[in-house]
Amino acid sequence: MDLHISHTTRYAYDTPVSYALQRLHLRPQSNIMQTVLDWTVTVDGGVIELTCEDHHGNVIDLVNTDRGATELTVTASGTVRTHDRAGVMGKVYGAAPLWHFMQDTALTKPSKDIRALARPLKSATDTLGACHALSAQILAAVPYLIGQTYTNTTADQALTGGAGVCQDHAHIMIAVARYAGFPARYVSGYLKLDDRIDQDASHAWAEVHLPTLGWVGFDVSNGISPDERYARLAIGCDASDAAPVKGMRLGDGDESLIVTLQVQQ
């Protein structure tokens, strides 16, 4: 399936910027699940200082906001041809070894509730089935609800709060899988919705490494493994590794952020 994607992130600053950097994870790469047919990243109100690979093999851009700018617009757009592999990325590895995806991160620390969720998976013989069951269980415990969680919400907080978005679902899935002894990671990307083109935010899901299949994706929010409607942007140990845009800015003043996203066939 050819997905046409246009993803715009606009920052508005209430005081002119003296110095601000943004690290972008906005360049999908070709792999066995997708072929990038064309892709561009453009910046208005700043410049791309450099483009390089991070330690997960993601391609990042470092953006410097123009001095005195009050607005920065980053647009990533292009076409990605996806291949339906039932969410199985397989035994494909980068520079980071599997044990790296076994380490807790600040956002995915195992709490008591998370450890409890891990019990069935720990002892399962059908690990794939157990992961799907876990995914369903997480969605039941944490229904999809916007506005209840933030960028820095941890897996445990989302689980306790009983509501969250795709990032929180992925974090809980990752935390549980790791505690059960399986390497797990965060995937950021796009999902084509069947009922509309315009979306408010990019998507995210989890991947768990199973001994037989290798990396397998689980989109907890939608209760499925990724199919050809999904395009991958970046991977990481949690959202902080793979967030589409992460930045820092010198000085005071508020900023507001508007994301517009269109994904269509």
Partner: protein
Amino acid sequence: MNTKPDHFDEMRMGDDQVRPPYANYKSWFDGQDPGRLAKKSKEAEAFFRRTGITFNVYGQMAAEERLIPFDLVPRIISGREWTKLSRGIEQRVRAINAFLHDIYNRQEILRAGRIPIDLIARNEAFLPQMMGFSPPGGVYTHIVGTDIVRTGEDDFFVLEDNARTPSGVSYMLENRETMLQMFPELFSRIKVRPVSDYPKNLRRSLAASAPKSCGGKPVIAVLTPGIYNSAYYEHSFLADQMGAELVEGHDLRVVDGHIAMRTTRGYKQIDVLYRRVDDEFLDPLTFNPKSMLGVPGIMDVYRAGNITIANAPGTGVADDKAIYSYMPDIIEFYTGEKAILKNVETFRCGEQDSLKYVLDNLAELVVKEVHGSGGYGMLVGPAASKKELADFADKLRARPSNYIAQPTLSLSTVPIMVKKGLAPRHVDLRPYVLVSPDGVDITPGGLTRVALTEGSLVVNSSQGGGTKDTWVLED
């Protein structure tokens, strides 16, 4: 002079005989007027204070500046002894660089099962952001300060491999400078190998490690946390001696994909950054977001191949005290040779049997924090009170893997000047090693730290230690 028989004294053999490296010096010393030497000692202190060769003590009143006491009796090493030492150090430093490259890339040593994965995976000094990347020239530790102690004629042990940002080299240089000014006649009488080339060699070594993309003469800068840092004097001294700019984080920005410093004429690109800021604070965009000392984005510039950071981030994974205990294996794995310098026997308290042994023998052992430095958080068993031992045992039980223990070594002694003449005190040695794609360069000598209190084994300057000039003889 009363040397305890259980210590190796580097000047004396028995009561009357002087060891050969010291023979010439001792005969000079015996001809000196003690009053004149005492006066020289005062002069040296005044010189250090006027020049501002001070360090700031953590935990004391803000920005209090102190002098490190300087003892004017040199510590003397023969050329033959030095040859062996330097071969051992070079071997070790090469192995450390090979280890770091491996750990951040293919991890063969972990696949081979020679080191437990957890030691790396759970190591705070391991930086995932360094994975899948080779620094310019393949060098990780451009500057190393290997801490060495001696216990006998042929017994040298490595105590610590300081592979992050070893400090103290300015004292090595200033101590020699002071000795040259005070006792010029000594240096015409005894041929001592010079240390004064260090800044030039440092500059050359850093320049040789510049990124490939750097055309022409590389621009080098020294990154300091600022004037209130304990080693600020050294930072400014080295920058000055190398003819490099001394910069702070807020002088730097990302410009045209490089790191650049703000000059009176605009931003100017830097090719090699000799940073004296710890990993955690180096890049708020990548590591501690609250850091005010670092350079946001520098890790991306680094991975893009546009700057050399010396030492590379993440080198701490090679010098913590738990890894230390594996150094003989590491050396063998990467060089195919046995380690030339010995390791001190080390008990990893994280291991059940070791912990038991350590708790049972606490009074005889030295216990250190795995990530500690500067003598803080350390227990010297033989010098500790019953209560101190008991308190420390609690700490050990609470977080065993945070500690290692070693037998108390009977460190060698070297004479210092006291009111009554010469008296032996325990010493260690930190030679300074430069690594570049062109090779390894070890300055003959180094910093000798001396425990000024009689019988004390703690040489750290923050804990009442002093320093000495260290001579390597031309022989």
